[in-house]
């Protein structure tokens, strides 16, 4: 087979593939106009997604900044290293804090369940907060 006949064969293959493809598309969707309109909507959505990706990148940077800022604010309020503790604003009546020994978290796994209780010390004032330090205990009933 010489080069030009091989070229002709390849062209025929491409033609057949293209025709096959077109006929499959037509078979799937008799309304070519609807495909074109969907392509248009997809283009618009692709553009919107690109904008959203950029927006998300900006927001993720913002999230990291606010994570660092809130950690600094916690440190500044002297609440940076509480271990296990309950805290209320010192101006408010301390209501609702769990009593020492009251269950305040439960976890049921497939083969075991656990209950978390805390023994609290009397509240002391830390800056503008009342803090009851505690010792968390995990028990399996």
């Amino acid at each position: 087979m010489n080069i030009s006949s091989r070229g002709g064969l390849a062209a025929l293959c491409v033609l057949l593939a293209t025709v096959g493809c077109a006929s499959r598309s037509a078979g799937r969707n008799p309304n070519m106009a609807s495909d074109a309109s969907m392509e248009k909507r997809a283009d618009a959505l692709e553009e919107r997604n690109q904008q959203l990706r950029e927006e998300l990148r900006r927001k993720e940077a913002e999230v990291e900044q606010s994570f660092a800022a809130v950690t600094r604010a916690e440190d500044a309020a002297q609440l940076g290293s509480l271990g296990c503790a309950g805290a209320t604003p010192s101006a408010s009546p301390a209501r609702g804090l769990p009593r020492s020994g009251a269950v305040h978290a439960k976890l049921a796994l497939q083969r075991q369940s656990y209950r978390v209780t805390t023994s609290f010390t009397p509240a002391r004032t830390v800056g503008t907060w009342k803090v009851s330090q505690g010792t968390c205990q995990v028990a399996s009933p």
Partner: protein, 236 residues
């Protein structure tokens, strides 16, 4: 040379034609819609994280803004200590892979570290106990299977990222294995497989912590992870 370049050009034309053919507009639209939903959700979650941080920061500066709420604080060391009371935790091997007999034991959870967007990082130390692969294995692959079984028995360490989400009075902790390393070198090459199996099976469902407080009607209204603590704020 010219013939070769003509062939390349034709190949390119055919490839381009076939790729164009392959991109069904409905499939493309569906993929874009899924991406749009994921991006929208992630953007909203980011907004919510910034909003919650700002609210808590304001309360820290002006406690009056916290009203009559109270908060429970848990430092990473406290969480690690609490987790140490829940291990060793034994799971059937089939929770990791449908053809795995024996048990996988979580021996320790360590290195708890707060991350942004209400996430925690931690490290799970696992080992297999009497683990056997029960699937059919062609004879040429039996050695590899034995290597894998020995590697599981010698243990692995998985780095997890746990997303905490407050839902009603519960916290859902959805863990994802970021990477896993076997303790023995026989496991080299199976790390990706272990990570994927963990994510698809053992970690598929979130852990649910019920945060209702015994003897009170206080309800959790915010969950916050800072660089220091996991904080649950309650309304009495």
């Amino acid at each position: 040379m010219r013939a070769a370049s003509r062939w390349s050009a034709m190949g390119l034309v055919a490839w381009t034609g076939l790729m164009g053919c392959a991109s069904d507009p409905r499939a493309r639209m569906m993929a874009l819609e899924q991406e749009n939903a994921r991006l929208t959700q992630a953007t909203q979650a980011a907004d919510e994280a910034v909003r919650a941080s700002a609210e808590y920061s304001e309360e820290l500066q002006s406690p009056a803004k916290a009203g009559n709420t109270f908060s429970l604080y848990y430092a990473p060391a406290t969480l690690e200590q609490a987790a140490s009371r829940m291990v060793p935790y034994r799971m059937p091997g089939r929770d990791f892979h449908s053809k795995l007999a024996g048990d996988i034991v979580v021996e320790r959870l360590t290195d708890f570290r707060p991350l942004s967007r209400n996430r925690l990082a931690c490290r799970a130390h696992l080992r297999g106990d009497n683990v056997r692969y029960t699937g059919k294995v062609p004879s040429f692959a039996k050695g590899q299977v034995r290597d894998f079984e020995r590697a599981v028995a010698a243990g692995a360490v998985a780095d997890l990222e746990v997303q905490l989400t407050l839902e009603g009075s519960s916290v859902q902790a959805r863990a994802q294995a970021v990477q896993a390393r076997f303790n023995s070198k026989e496991g080299a090459g199976y790390e990706r497989q272990l990570t994927d199996e963990m994510n698809q099976r053992a970690l598929r469902l979130p852990l649910v912590f019920d945060l209702s407080i015994q003897g009170t009607s206080a309800t959790p209204r915010r969950l916050m992870v800072t660089g220091n603590h996991v904080i649950v704020t309650y309304t009495p």
